[in-house]
Symmetry: C2
Subunit: 198 residues, 2 copies
Amino acid sequence: MSLRHHLMDGMQAYCMEELSVAIEKKINFVILGLLNHEALTGYEIKKRIDNSLRFFWSGSFGSIYPTLDVLVQDGCVEKEEETSGRGKIIYSITEKGRVLLREWLMKPVKKDELRYETLLKLFFGGELGREGILVHIQNFEEKIKKELLLLEMYVQNLERVQNEEDHKYYLITVKFGVETYRAYLRWCEEARNILLHD
Amino acid sequence: MSLRHHLMDGMQAYCMEELSVAIEKKINFVILGLLNHEALTGYEIKKRIDNSLRFFWSGSFGSIYPTLDVLVQDGCVEKEEETSGRGKIIYSITEKGRVLLREWLMKPVKKDELRYETLLKLFFGGELGREGILVHIQNFEEKIKKELLLLEMYVQNLERVQNEEDHKYYLITVKFGVETYRAYLRWCEEARNILLHD
DNA sequence: CGTAGCATGTAACAGGTTACATGATTCT
DNA sequence: AGAATCATGTAACCTGTTACATGCTACG
């Protein structure tokens, strides 16, 4: 298994232990990364993903809850069941989990992937014709404009509240979104020009 | 099954037939789209994906060959086995396939997805520290610079050879890549500034 | 008092990829 | 002759998502 192999070349402190955490599953590190900042319930993890990571990552309950179980089994995460109230389960990261997270962070990035159905449809646009393609561009533009507003709000918040330790890291990822979305909007204009005139 | 349902609201000409083509599998339409332009072998389809679509899509032999079989069974694609030579199998689109492709092209886009491991690592950068993060940005920058060179070559070729029917559609997708990659490079500078000064 | 949101979980499926096996042909 | 590329295919795996089931709690 590649699990062991990966552990060998980094995790000295724990390299003899068995881990059922599949090292390649990014959802592991998404969870560890979020818990590294603060203790959270599974539900809250989902919300963090949908809010803070939405621009470049996604994740569903169907992967979050089972992964939390595995992480607990491996001692990377601890659970604390609330006795009072609704009995929600609050997860927090352990030292072992932090080591695993750090190991992953140090490794080179394996894959950055963009899968835009919109571009696929545009590429095959000859069969659809100009009008249809313009509609796709329109829809794309509207979606991006909405998202861009959100991102610009995030930037404003981050530039006001600079007390956070991780402030700069959040800021650069949000700025990435802002820059690329602005480029998308410029491209929408350009694409329309190419299709209409020229 | 959602197959039938989807067929109902569009493919009048064939709506009574059974299709094993899973309507949601994008690989179906990637193949149909490519074959709509020219007859190809499975191997050549893979090459087209890796060259022309690489910026916004990917696909492996493990999905291409089985999908071709299904498309043939459903009459969306015809195969012709070369008797002489290596005996390669050349696939071409049928009228039915073209209808299916057009149907899909007309539907609104379901999902445009960006999954950048780089951004995930940057977001959790507090645990790694500035130096490590700068390395990730550096790697990202180098990869993008290489890709951008390729894309700019494509643009030049497309702007010279304007005879192609689908020329404009290819051009706008390539320009999308160029615009966003240039935005990425500007962001790399910005991100470094935020991390170093400020 | 009903409904929106909080909260946890699972089974079935989807939509691929990876790694391997096999062999022909072209290039040097 | 050997390597690179052309060419086809498959079985096992991976990494999720979707859809459902369940129930609590805060709010108007």
